[in-house]
């Protein structure tokens, strides 16, 4: 099958590659670009581990072909830290609130939460839970992921984070 030349901007850098039309975006990111932070989980569009930001949308990169991302701007977990290398508010939130155990779902969770907070800077707990409903975590029971996102929202909004009583 003839290969197609694709170019896109990933984490601010122009990248290119030759792909078959059937190459999934997640495979292009992981195998052509060696950006292995984006995980492959269920491969059936359920689990959200492969979530990346594509032109302002959270997408499951296992269900988009790389050729469809021609000319797009993509952010992966490798691109979310602050410019000086310090942790972003969300990364810090996941660390401080113990929002991960095995960590497999974390890149997808953080990319999804980042877009959620850009669309809704002050989400309620319910809105956070619905906002990450396309991302499955099998370790945490979500409680600490919700707290991590609340921590990040408060930090971005300049508010002191107070952990809700359990």
């Amino acid at each position: 099958m003839a290969k197609t030349h694709v170019t896109m901007k990933v984490n601010g850098a122009e990248v290119e590659g030759l792909v078959e039309p059937r190459t999934l975006l997640v495979h292009f990111l992981r195998e052509n670009l060696s950006l292995t932070g984006t995980h492959i989980g269920c491969e059936t569009t359920h689990c959200g581990a492969c979530t990346v930001d594509l032109d302002g949308m959270s997408v499951k990169s296992c269900t988009v072909f790389a050729v469809q991302a021609q000319g797009s701007e993509i952010t992966t977990i490798e691109g979310v830290a602050n410019a000086d290398g310090s942790l972003s508010a969300l990364q810090e939130g996941f660390r401080m609130m113990h929002g991960l155990q095995c960590g497999f779902c974390t890149p997808g969770m953080i990319l999804r939460a980042q877009r959620l907070l850009q669309e809704n800077p002050r989400p309620s707990e319910e809105e956070i839970r619905m906002g990450i409903s396309g991302n499955i975590c099998r370790c945490t029971g979500y409680q600490n992921i919700v707290k991590a996102i609340q921590y990040a929202a408060d930090k971005i909004n300049g508010v002191e984070f107070k952990e809700a009583a359990e």
Binding site: M1, T4, E20, P21, R22, L24, H27, E43, T44, T45, H46, G48, T51, M57, S58, V59, K60, T63, V64, F65, V67, Q68, R112, L116, M130, G131, I132, S133, G134
Partner: protein, 287 residues
């Protein structure tokens, strides 16, 4: 999992898309959001030789009010539907239902055209479109036609669309001001297809139901209009006896498959519960 090989086409106009669909042979599929088709391709349950990606066709996007109708371009995503003030104001049942479809990531990609076109009995929009009296625009190589949603679905994944035709837009008549609406969907978890779901759009006058339409999702190999159930409630105040009769009339036309969502008896039973809840909630919202 990696899909089988295919050739990728990205037309820029509806005319070019239709030309590709009508000239590339039998094994060509349009690609909208891809969230039904791509997983099927990974499982090799679908092996198209050609994919015609519709993302490059700007003419397939958008939500436009045309007098008493709202015309929604086929490539309008569920996310865009949810962001539309026009939809929230004029056809709030679409907003309510779109929020119950899949999850946020899928809603950024999933389109209204894809949801209604492929005839998947689990999709939510088809029964809604039948309830609302909507129609679909089908563009073919030589002509175009408008097909009522109620005439479109022929069986699971079998529809009135002909090879070479593309569903380009959905026209939805705006329900009367003050109408009541409800989409009740029982599902096992976020992102699941309905175990059973019911759509109701009705109007009330002096405490009695003046008009009513009821649609059913995933309770038959096609979406259904529960016409007899709707007739049963007209002229009533939805008292308990009437509700019971309406539920029985709706259950009489249900023939769900037994699957992981439950045996036939269970799915019909909860289908009836969804009908009763949707009727009551729609009535409580009517002005």
């Amino acid at each position: 999992m990696i899909p089988g090989p295919f050739s990728y086409h990205r037309p820029a106009t509806v005319a070019d898309a239709v030309k590709l669909l009508s000239t590339l042979g039998d094994d060509v599929r349009p690609l909208a959001g891809g969230h039904s088709l791509v997983p099927m391709m990974k499982l090799r349950l679908a092996t198209p030789e050609h994919l015609v990606d519709l993302h490059g066709v700007p003419g397939l996007k958008g939500i436009v009010r045309d007098r008493d109708k709202i015309v929604i371009g086929a490539m309008t995503t569920q996310h865009e539907l949810l962001a539309s003030e026009e939809i929230a104001k004029s056809i709030p049942i679409l907003h309510e239902a779109a929020l119950l479809i899949a999850d946020p990531q899928v809603r950024y990609r999933g389109t209204i055209g894809g949801n209604v076109a492929n005839g998947d009995p689990g999709n939510d929009m088809p029964a809604l479109m039948m309830t609302l009296g909507a129609s679909y625009r089908l563009e073919g190589p030589d002509s175009s036609r408008e097909v009522a949603a109620a005439d479109y679905y022929q069986g699971a994944y079998f529809t009135a669309i002909e090879p070479g035709e593309l569903l380009t837009a959905v026209s939805v008549p705006v329900p009367p001001a003050g109408h009541g609406y409800s989409y009740e969907k029982l599902k096992r978890k976020v992102g699941d297809y309905a175990t059973a779901a019911a759509a109701v759009v009705l109007t009330m006058a002096s405490g009695k139901v003046a008009s009513c339409a009821i649609g059913l999702t995933n309770l038959h190999e096609t979406p259904l209009l529960a016409t007899d159930a709707a007739k049963t409630v007209i002229g009533t105040s939805l008292d308990a006896a009437t509700l019971k009769k309406a539920v029985a009339a709706a259950e009489a036309i249900m023939s769900p498959a037994a699957d992981a969502r439950g045996p036939v008896e269970y799915r019909k039973h909860v289908g009836g519960v969804m009908v009763a809840r949707a009727l009551q909630r729609a009535a409580s919202r009517a002005k």
